[in-house]
Amino acid sequence: PKSLTTISPNQHALIRLPSEGMKIVLLKPNGVISLGKFGSFEVNGILGYPFGQSFEILDDHKVKPTKSITQLHDDAPASDDGDEEIEKSELTKMFSNSAESNQNIINIGSKVQKLTSDDIDELKKSGASSNIGQTIIEKMIAGHGGFDKKTIFSQQKYLKRKQQKFLRRFTVEYLGASQLLQYYVEKDIQRILDMSEESLGLIMTYSNVRPGGKYLLIDETGGVILYAMMERMKGEGTIVLIHDNEHANIITLRNSDYPEEDINRMVKTINWLQFVEPENEKIDWDEATPAEIEQMKPSKQAQYERRSKRAQEINEVINMTQEGNFDALISVSTLNMTSFLPYVLPTIGGSRPVVIYSQFKELLLETQHFLMKDKRVLAPSIFESRVRAYQTIPGRMHPLMTMRGFGGYVLWGTRVMPKESGVTAIGRG
């Protein structure tokens, strides 16, 4: 099985760059991975380190382990690393020249930035040494007319920003569901329907996902939710995934490093037609007798086996939905909820959670009204969770000035069986 703790060969990983960019990579032994302007490195150089380790790119695609890339100054005092010390003393020196208040801050813009991007490109070309980032930064400071007029604080910020842009460092992280989500938040937020990590957490908790459960899932994110569930379940239990098209789009599972057989064992897919009209869509497959199979040509025989397996799979998943008693409904979709809930609700077991995500509160509002009238879901409510991050530089603590506005909404309720049997007659009942 894949490792959660150690950077291992033939596994995917998330690379974080100083620019706060991200990259998903497959760690092929002996391979070389390019990080664009940050340089390239040999995969073998990072294998065996724990996930979370940061590295600096040296000459010839070699790396050396280094401290975190994201908190250059917060953790500087605890560092014995040579480079860090240089940076620190560099900073200290410059700070002593700084205006001690904001009053002399001058208008820092492109005008005072005397280093052109051509200069920077040239510097980059001139030497591929590990010190290039530091060199560039020093040149930039030298070329920055107003630098000593800035306060310590803004110098710090400026330097950090520049370092993050030019230092050839990166961090290798385990590619969990949160990392995959963050990746899409940066690259393609529409794919994950604006979902924030806090909303994903709420969904996982409210739907009571755990090893051994049997869940009904509607997932239009290409499998990010599916992956989050599989991570929590660690190979135990079943997820029935309903999909819109002929085939389920679970493209993100390519990065999950689960063996095909594990995915096939845990994840059963069914399309909406099969779900809504199960009796019509079941395949009435006549098993051939051993004698009949014997008589088939080898190519026909293989075709027969394949079709037989496929029919069994379809019938198996249709039967599962007909048996129902799922341990939760989890829906992350753009489909009109009130149009599918009549089909889906009867398949959820008593006292199990019903969890529906939407980008828009207005759509969950309609859903909540629908459920309140329907009575098969107890106490449905809409939850909104928003995380606000702080700058934690001592003496300069405040919430970050901006944050992402989106994040989505989660409806949570509990499937119950009301006394009046008439109420449950809606849909397939």
Partner: protein
């Protein structure tokens, strides 16, 4: 282990959550002959046996009803008498997601408090995971220990300990809980008044092979400041502090009141008044379609109110007196959301950080 796996039918000895109302969820253990008393009637345990989890149950004399719910950490959290501050689901769910708590994770928690988060951790880490939870306060420790035993939380080890002074090391760890010769925690959650005093003790009990994540939960900003410094001193990296703001919204209906209805009603009032005063006209008014506004300044709406029922579909312009049920089909409504009247605007600050084992290569 009812918090680990669903069952369908209620049997004697089962823990059942009686859902009486949104604010009142009572955990009961089913025992023949006993009954649950509520403000709206009582319910015999005998009748519950054999019923399905999730069923609605009518009160003994047909008065009122409850729903019989299966245990879950989230219902447990909602049902708790607030003995101590609870880590609410908005915070706990984010912490677990961010620190990647999954089946098999080894978690260190201090203090246990109401054990609400402990239930949540235990559910998520499953049979393969291990939760080491520490509580200093003896009554709370005993209460939590009893609950964890009653709830069959076999993946959880609770220790009575002041971790700030005495650290996290445990002398005789039960065999099933040992890894790499000790606790070897992968995720740490500290809900303590002074986490900075506990942080230096962590080194001995956290994993030496995997990245370890920590979350410190502190209500005051000054605690964060000290915590950040302690984490820096102990070599933790990627320190970030966040707040989680949670809101709960309810679906409501708001009556649609068009200006046309208002105009119609004003005309109605006016025409009835004009009829009433027809024979006492004095002012010189021209003929034509202009109406007489003469007595308007001394009139009142009393007469009109009696006729409100006749307006039918439209709006109920006289708030007083006539009460309309929200969603009444005689009127037009618009769906709206409403937040709780009082919201939890602050629970605690969450300080996250990571520690990477020293490279061995």
């Amino acid at each position: 282990m009812s918090f680990f796996k669903y069952k369908d039918v209620i049997e004697e000895g089962d823990l059942v959550f009686a859902f009486i109302s949104r604010g009142t969820i009572k955990p009961i253990t089913i025992k023949k002959g006993e009954k649950l008393n509520t403000r709206y009637g009582h319910y015999e345990h005998d009748d519950m046996i054999g019923m399905k989890f999730g069923e609605q149950m009518a009160g003994a004399r047909g008065i009122g009803f409850i729903h019989l719910l299966h245990p879950s950490p989230e219902l447990w959290t909602l049902s708790l008498p607030h003995r101590t501050q609870i880590v609410y689901t908005q915070d706990s769910s984010y912490i677990m997601q961010r620190l990647n708590v999954v089946s098999g994770t080894r978690v260190i928690e201090a203090g246990t408090g109401s054990a609400s988060f402990s239930h949540s951790f235990a559910r998520t880490i499953g049979y393969d995971g291990r939760l080491f939870t520490y509580e200093f306060h003896e009554p709370r420790y005993l209460e939590a220990k009893k609950e964890l035993e009653e709830h069959n939380m076999k993946n959880t080890l609770i220790t009575h300990r002041d971790v700030c002074n005495d650290g996290f090391e445990i002398a005789n760890i039960p065999e099933g809980f040992v890894k790499d010769g000790g606790v070897s925690g992968e995720v740490v959650f500290l809900d303590l008044p002074s986490p900075w005093t506990a942080i230096p003790h962590l080194e001995k009990v956290i994993s030496q092979t995997a990245r370890v994540g920590i979350c410190c939960f502190s209500p005051c900003i000054e605690q964060v400041d000290k915590t950040v410094k302690a984490l820096q001193d102990e070599g933790w990296i990627e320190i970030e502090m966040v707040e989680v703001a949670g809101r709960r919204w309810e679906a409501r209906k708001d009556m649609v009141k068009d200006v046309g209805d208002v105009v119609k009603r004003l005309k109605d009032i006016q025409s009835r008044k004009n009829q009433g005063i027809e024979n006492k006209r004095h002012a010189k008014v021209q003929a034509g379609d202009k109406r007489d506004h003469d007595e308007m300044d001394s009139g009142s709406d009393d007469g009109a109110e009696k006729k409100v029922q006749n307006t039918g579909k439209g709006f109920n312009p006289f708030g007083k007196g006539v009460r309309v049920r929200e969603g009444d089909e005689g009127f037009e409504w618009r769906n709206v959301t409403k937040v709780e009247g009082e919201i939890k605007s602050h629970t605690s600050y969450l300080t996250f950080a990571y520690k990477i084992p020293l490279p061995k290569v």
